[in-house]
Symmetry: C3
């Protein structure tokens, strides 16, 4: 299924953990998460107050300041590059509805070019075809 | 199966999307992509003209200039480090032969030490053993 | 199953390849590796002498020096950020007990805040439930 997540800012860390937990209620297996956009990414993170902005600032500061070739909008290039560096997806294990995460681990969407509606493919890996793509 | 991809330059972003789409024709499931080398990586990317070189330049510029300990060839160290930072693989969902990507998303091989022949394991996750490793 | 890996230093690259190979003896399929902590990560790496320290130094040097907001312990913020940038896990293909890696590829745990005992979920993707979570 496609989970649609709205973002509200240009750059934002959105905690997906609770909305995913609702999808996984009562289910077990390994689930695929993949954001279908080139200016967003998915990873795991600690989310103490302020660590979301720390992560966004670190990612911007980590990239060198270059003359980007990207013709569409050069200022927009780092958004694409960070999406590729972090990566579009994760696999997460779920056992009786519980994601098998560490105590402080959250699954997050990194938005680099919002606000937008972001489509995330959430599907069961290795089940029968109709189980895989319909949760 | 092992997909062999030739690279032609020292550093290069190689679009794998079309060659993968041929492999996946008529198939459904979640496919594993894993490059079996320590100076190459796989991720998703936007590929407007010039964004491939933007990505390669950003990755080089992002690493600090240090005295590398790597005894084999210190100048070659960043190629290994970038491979570890980006990561060797992805999982990608395929439905009736169509990779479930965003409009502008491409699956790419990042070559950091070409030209070489690069081996990529492409296999179906969770099928019967003979389905998994032979597409 | 949960694999418990002790780390012995603040920052360390721990080679998991041999301990994983023992777990996978005689097995085939795609295995999920996921470290259940917010200051550790899993990736693939070349491990020539010194490249472990090269990787740790490069990761520290790659992050900008900022005033972190993280209230718990600001000096500890980069440990969380690097864990999110590298990512918590990998999927790895195993065929008749052999991980399908390149000649020089090792699977590594990156410890950013040791010494600690680190829990890694190692499970078979797509098997029957009892196969998945008990190796």
């Amino acid at each position: 299924m496609i989970l649609t997540i709205p973002s509200t800012k240009k750059r934002e860390v959105i905690d997906l953990t609770n909305v995913l937990a609702e999808q996984f209620r009562g289910k077990s297996g390994h689930f695929y998460l993949f954001v279908q956009h080139t200016t967003a990414a998915i990873t795991a993170a600690d989310l103490d107050p302020g660590t979301d902005l720390d992560l966004l600032d670190a990612l911007q500061g980590m990239l060198p300041q270059l003359q980007w070739r990207h013709p569409h909008d050069p200022a927009h290039t780092p958004d694409h590059l960070l999406a590729s560096i972090i990566g579009p997806g994760l696999v997460v294990a779920v056992k009786d509805g519980a994601m098998q995460l560490g105590t402080w681990q959250r699954i997050v969407l990194l938005e680099f070019n919002g606000p937008q509606q972001r489509a995330i493919d959430v599907s069961l890996i290795g089940g029968a075809p109709e189980q895989q793509f319909e949760l």
